[in-house]
């Protein structure tokens, strides 16, 4: 049985191997973190981690990542117990609408896992493929740097 391992839990996805990972996560596993933004891997809103690497779940078939460790925004913490990056985004009030924030946090998570103390330039470069329309970029960069500083 093909199984999707998401945030430490295993889910049977028999028959859904060809479906976009994003839709399986959102519609079948009922996770709200990853967002549909473009379906083209252009905006980053759908980003999840697969074995620690940021992946655009909108263009990834669910069957491609079976038995790999998938982490979504929900895997970093919850509304009652937010994780380090999530706390930093709250502390910096780092968003307006928040639709892009899933992708920004997940991309930042991958960055900090590889480079725990990035420079501001490194953060901006890492996030350059994540689009934000509200103009909360600087707040989000500060949030990532705050999370790194508090590590």
């Amino acid at each position: 049985m093909p199984a999707l391992k998401v945030n430490g839990h295993s889910h049977d996805i028999d028959g859904l191997e060809d479906a976009p990972l994003l839709f399986v996560l959102r519609n079948d596993l009922k996770l709200n973190g990853p967002k549909f933004g473009c379906g083209l891997a252009q905006c980053g809103a759908c980003t999840v981690l697969v074995d620690g690497e940021p992946v655009r779940s909108c263009v990834t078939a669910a069957g491609v990542v079976v038995n790999q460790e998938i982490t979504t925004l929900e895997g970093l913490g919850s509304i009652d117990k937010p994780g380090k990056l999530q706390q930093a985004f709250i502390a910096e009030q780092a968003m307006q609408c928040g639709y892009c924030v899933n992708g920004v946090i997940m991309r930042a998570k991958a960055l900090l896992d590889q480079n725990p103390h990035p420079s501001e330039g490194e953060v901006r470069l890492a996030l350059d493929g994540n689009l934000c329309r509200c103009g909360a970029h600087n707040r989000m960069v500060r949030a990532v740097l705050r999370a790194a500083a508090e590590a």
């Binding site: 709200n32 933004g37 252009q42 990056l85 996030l127």
Partner: protein, 740 residues
């Protein structure tokens, strides 16, 4: 005005225009809105219980018609409510944007939420507190004036207490506000004036359910719509038989040129639309404008001319003056929400269609959808749910209409429709292209004597407004609804001509709107409406005049600016930037832009530095300083977030964005063909506020875009000597200007 006859010359941007001003004595300016008795939207919904209820379990319910768009408005009104009612913010439960439950506050737009909703909530909460204190005084047998309140617990001098929740038996708030309850003094305030953490952010960082996209009611189906290749296309034929036979496809809906699919799974609905697209044959119009011809088109149309300011021109004949003019253009810009528009609709057994939508105008949209469906307006119920940031009238309402249409085909089953990226890019109503022409006469010192501005624009307002013809789907039905006659907005807020009247004082100012009552591309309200282009033109032109006079750009503005709050903001931004001591380095330059939004709302000045690479033509913004005065500040961080976001969005519009389109359809169909500013391109931005406690809330979401565009053009001029009047300032355009 005489200059209208010279439109072709205007378009060519002839260096100096000779003007024939018309001598008119009367002022075309209308008076302000008639005297209001109650604050904000209390005028239309005066009953206290419409806004506020004391509920069981120690809760207070606040009901508002304005909705959360990511601008933080619900947090701000919660701060105000908690402040005046003397309760902890966490006691508040907010219902917003439900057409069956909340006051009809119209559209959440135009920077009106704080003036109209914030002011109403403040008064309502103060009056509710007064009523509750009256009840407590009676119960405790003391004078109401001797009572204190902390978190809903009323305390008498002798130590006796009563809580709000004990005091209400029901019906106490079934009275109209009087407008007489006093508002708390600034001293002793707990919430207002302080940056309260936004209520929605913990949800958004953790993936807790908060967006309309996150709704998954039981039995929900997925809907998708097949949009035509281009505007006004007609469906000639469609063989949908193979799609209809596909397992999991519940319904193919066809009504005229409107085609949609309802399926059990989202990816199946998308695949089905792809298959239908391959099968569909369309009649596509072969003529139409493009992003390049639209400016000519604007000037060619028969406009409705509105002289929004007419003043006698100081005689040119008696004393010859230097006359200069310039022409500025902005293209169509898209709202470009990161999340495509989405709605969920369900046709219930009682014939009511319930719709969850991120519309800014739930009331008017529900009426428009009822109009489209041919049902009584009581048969459509809209509930606001948060969506991706919209920045004006995007496709939110159209997605709601799509979902409503598809839901009619599967009674009892909720249908969620999310648009594709391509449809969002191609079909949303854009912020319209504009041409703005300015001219002035100057005296021997270079000071401005006469000022003239003319603008050409289509409508900035095709919101649903209760009319089906404003909904995209309705125009493609078998019995199509026609687009209502486009209108411009009048004073005091204006629309295409918003901010077309300069705040500066000249000996004469004449402003004419050439309103084009038709469309070259679908257009509607985008953040700031005409203010973006008009402020861009005014603040660029005054910079040109300052340069011609050999004057400092800030000092020159101050010569012409009497408004004290305006002067304070302009000077503050200059000081924050380090204007006086600024030292240019090779390739760098500074610019400033300033406006009072709508001429009656927030004051905002933006100063910035750019570095221009002469080889590539690339403009890099290195830092931005902004000063803002939006009256009394409720949440300083909330205001700064709005202002900063507006600056970034305007930099993106001005540096990069233009919708490309033609008779075959819109060609800006994704983020590759319509790029926006990215993290590495966003400069450091500092924002400081001048708080004005005791003065009205002015709103702030749309204050910074116009000044930003102009400051950018002015900085590029300072850096290179090249004056950019055509937005966007792409490297190719900058390079051409440098070589001119």
């Amino acid at each position: 005005m005489g200059v209208s006859a010279n439109r072709r010359d205007v378009l060519k941007g002839a260096g100096a225009l000779v003007l024939g001003f018309e001598f008119v004595a009367d002022s075309a300016l209308a008076a302000d809105a008639p005297g209001q008795k109650l604050p904000g939207d209390l005028n239309t919904t005066p009953k206290i219980s419409s806004w506020l209820r004391v509920e069981e379990g120690g809760k207070i319910r606040l009901l508002v018609g304005k909705v959360e768009l990511g601008q933080g408005v619900l947090t701000a009104v919660a701060q105000i409510c908690a402040e005046e009612l003397d309760v902890d913010m966490n006691r508040l439960v907010i219902t917003s944007g439900d057409t069956r439950l909340v006051p009809d506050e119209g559209v959440t737009a135009g920077s009106f939420s704080m003036p109209n909703c914030g002011s109403a909530v403040r008064q309502v909460a103060a009056e509710a507190r007064q009523i509750l204190l009256g009840l407590a005084a009676k119960k405790l047998g003391v004078d109401a004036a001797s009572l204190g309140v902390a978190d809903g617990v009323v305390k008498a001098a002798d130590g006796k207490t009563a809580t709000y929740w004990d005091l209400v038996a029901g019906g106490e708030f079934e009275v109209d506000a009087t407008g007489k309850a006093p508002i708390k003094a600034r001293e002793g305030r707990r919430y207002v004036g302080k940056s309260a953490p936004r209520l929605d952010i913990p949800f958004k960082v953790s993936g807790a359910r908060i967006f309309v996209q996150d709704l998954r009611p039981d039995g929900m189906l997925h809907g998708r719509v097949l949009r035509p290749p281009a505007y006004d296309s007609k469906l000639v034929s469609l063989d949908s038989s193979s799609v209809e036979k596909t397992a999991g496809v519940v319904k193919v809906v066809r009504n005229g040129s409107f085609v949609g699919v309802v399926a059990e799974r989202e990816e199946l609905a998308m695949d089905a639309v792809a298959e239908l697209r391959a099968q569909a044959k369309w009649d596509v119009p072969t003529t139409g404008e493009t992003q390049d011809t639209v400016y000519d088109w604007l000037l060619r149309q028969e406009p409705e001319d509105i002289h929004i300011r007419k003043e006698p021109v100081v005689s040119i004949a008696e004393k010859p003056r230097k006359v200069v003019g310039a022409v500025y253009r902005r293209p169509y810009h898209m709202h470009a929400s990161i999340g495509p528009s989405t709605a969920v609709a369900t046709l219930d057994a009682d014939g009511v269609t319930h719709i969850q939508t991120h519309s800014q105008s739930v009331f008017e949209t529900s009426i428009a959808i009822a109009d489209m469906l041919g049902v009584d307006k009581s048969k459509v119920h809209c509930q606001h749910e948060q969506g991706s940031g919209c920045y004006g009238h995007n496709a939110a309402d159209d997605a709601a209409a799509d979902a409503a249409l598809l839901a009619q085909a599967v009674p009892g089953r909720p249908v969620r429709v999310q648009w594709t990226r391509s449809d969002e890019h191609k079909w949303e109503p854009y912020g319209p292209a504009m041409v703005v022409s300015t001219a002035a006469t100057t005296d021997e010192k270079g000071d401005i004597v006469d000022w003239m501005l003319e603008l050409w624009s289509t409508s900035h307002g095709t919101r649903p407004g209760g009319k089906a013809g404003n909904l995209l789907a309705a125009r493609y039905l078998e019995k199509p609804f026609a687009l209502p006659k486009p209108v411009n907005g009048g004073p005091p807020n204006y629309a295409a001509d918003r901010n077309a009247i300069a705040i500066y004082e000249f000996q004469s100012q004449n402003v004419t709107t050439h309103f084009i009552p038709t469309f070259a591309a679908r257009a509607s309200a985008e953040r700031g409406l005409g203010a973006y282009a008009n402020v861009f033109a005014i603040e660029s032109f005054i910079d040109e005049l300052a340069a011609a006079a050999g004057a400092d750009a800030v000092e020159y503005r101050l010569r012409h600016l009497k408004d004290e709050r305006g002067r304070a903001i302009l000077q503050k931004a200059a000081e924050m930037f380090g204007w006086r001591d600024y030292k240019k380095t090779p390739g760098s330059g500074r610019g400033i832009g300033f406006a009072r939004y709508k001429g009656l709302a927030a004051y905002c000045a933006v100063a910035m530095e750019v570095v221009v690479d002469r080889g590539s033509g690339k403009v890099r913004v290195t830092r931005v300083a902004c000063a803002n005065d939006c009256g009394e500040v409720v949440s300083p961080d909330g205001v700064k977030n709005q202002i900063e976001g507006g600056i970034v969005q305007s930099l993106s519009w001005t540096l990069k964005e233009a919708v490309r389109f033609g008779p075959g359809g819109v060609r800006s169909a994704d983020w590759a063909s319509y790029p926006i500013l990215t993290f590495s391109e966003v400069p450091p931005i500092t924002v400081e506020l001048i708080d004005r406690p005791g003065t009205p809330f002015l709103g702030t979401g749309e204050a910074s875009q116009g000044p930003t565009g102009a400051a950018l053009a002015n900085a590029v001029f300072d850096a290179t000597g090249a004056r950019l009047r055509d937005i966007p300032f792409t490297p190719a355009r900058v390079k051409a200007a440098l070589q001119a």
